[in-house]
Subunit: 203 residues, 2 copies
DNA sequence: TGTACCCGATACATTGGTGTATCGAGAGTG
DNA sequence: CACTCTCGATACACCAATGTATCGGGTACA
């Protein structure tokens, strides 16, 4: 059964409100009450759509990561091949598309920590991360080939890049006014790409 | 004024209880009440020692990172030079000393997210992280020299390693039964060390 | 051993959140 | 246009936590 028009709109507003509240209060401290107030609903609306904040978060996360990967794919597809010749160019392009999103980082970091302590959730998170890496891999391989690099173990590279992304994002956010942090992030990305690939491709 | 004996013991018990409660409930959801109950005190005890949970956490964190760096230094000092000949050896040694601590990771990740959203705290966290990298740097350089590697930019390396540590820790914890995650972590550490150093040293 | 004062206990007034059971407006449907 | 049933609002009963003001036992120190 497809959600009715009314319901779809309700979900949209709840997602939006939840993101704002999670970002402002922290996932752990956000209450159903706050989310509903922000969305302009009573708690009744919430409970007839979700059983818990966890459930709402997972729905948001699925949506958001889908959109993010789509953006990334689009950014890469739109890039002029002539402008992307080296691994560094590619790294900069991807970084620009993915960015360093303060609010989103905080929310996912907190939720991940929460999931690690909640057995059922841990597996769900593991699955999602796996799916993300899985989607990322082929895109990555094909674009690396364009800049003349062959990847021995694409999965390892994808996971390494995700790890570097997470780790450096914190550093960038902790020192938001320091452009050096941003540069170090790009350097590290580049170093990892070079370490996990060998010359050889279309370039 | 040095803390009296009674007070020192109270602090010890509060630290211990706080770590347990933060780990079990999440930093965001932990209450003063819970911490005190676990420690066997009333809230009166808490408020006459700290103004907030933030304050308590910062005290714990300072203590814990001091101890961690001390352990690391000791582990490196104790290692038989004959057994540590390559960058990989060094990486494995450090990894064994630092480890992947579930509870501690969750607690710090949540606190960091919290600090990012709390202006005053963000700077405190930045300072602490800086101090950690600062302490790490000389140790790192001296041991890399032992295994025959020279470091061009020690600070960049230290920060890169911290980022990789953070990023891969999550991955290891999300898939706790997968030894591959652990191996990928070591591989990434090694790749980064090699990328940020050049041959040349005592070896 | 006396005494000053530290520090943890107690009590109080408040606040804000929880989940469920029930109702009825109005969207969806033929 | 009328019928149906979804879904958000309302109301209920309940609990957990907050921070402060005050008290007094016991530690520390001469």
């Amino acid at each position: 059964m497809p959600p009715t028009r009314r319901r779809a709109e309700t979900l949209r507003r709840l997602h939006e409100a939840a993101l704002a509240v999670f970002a402002a209060e922290g996932f752990g401290r956000a209450s159903v009450e706050q989310v509903c107030e922000r969305a302009g609903f009573t708690r009744g609306a919430f409970y007839s759509n979700f059983a818990s904040l966890d459930e709402l978060f997972l729905a948001m996360w699925a949506e958001r990561s889908r959109a993010l990967l789509e953006d990334l794919r689009a950014a890469l597809a739109a890039a002029d091949t002539a402008d992307v010749r080296t691994a560094r160019d590619l790294v900069e392009l991807v970084d620009a598309a993915v960015g360093v999103d303060d609010a989103w980082y905080r929310v996912t970091a907190e939720f991940t920590a929460h999931a690690l302590r909640t057995p059922g959730l841990r597996e769900v998170v593991a699955q999602r991360e796996d799916a993300i890496a899985g989607t990322l891999t082929p895109v990555l391989v094909s674009f690396l080939r364009r800049v003349g690099r062959a990847v021995a173990d694409p999965r390892a590279l994808a996971l390494a890049l995700v790890a570097v992304h997470d780790g450096t994002t914190v550093q960038c956010l902790v020192e938001p006014d320091d452009p050096a942090a941003r540069r170090r992030r790009l350097d590290l990305f580049e170093a990892v790409v070079l370490a996990y690939t060998t010359p050889g491709g279309d370039a």
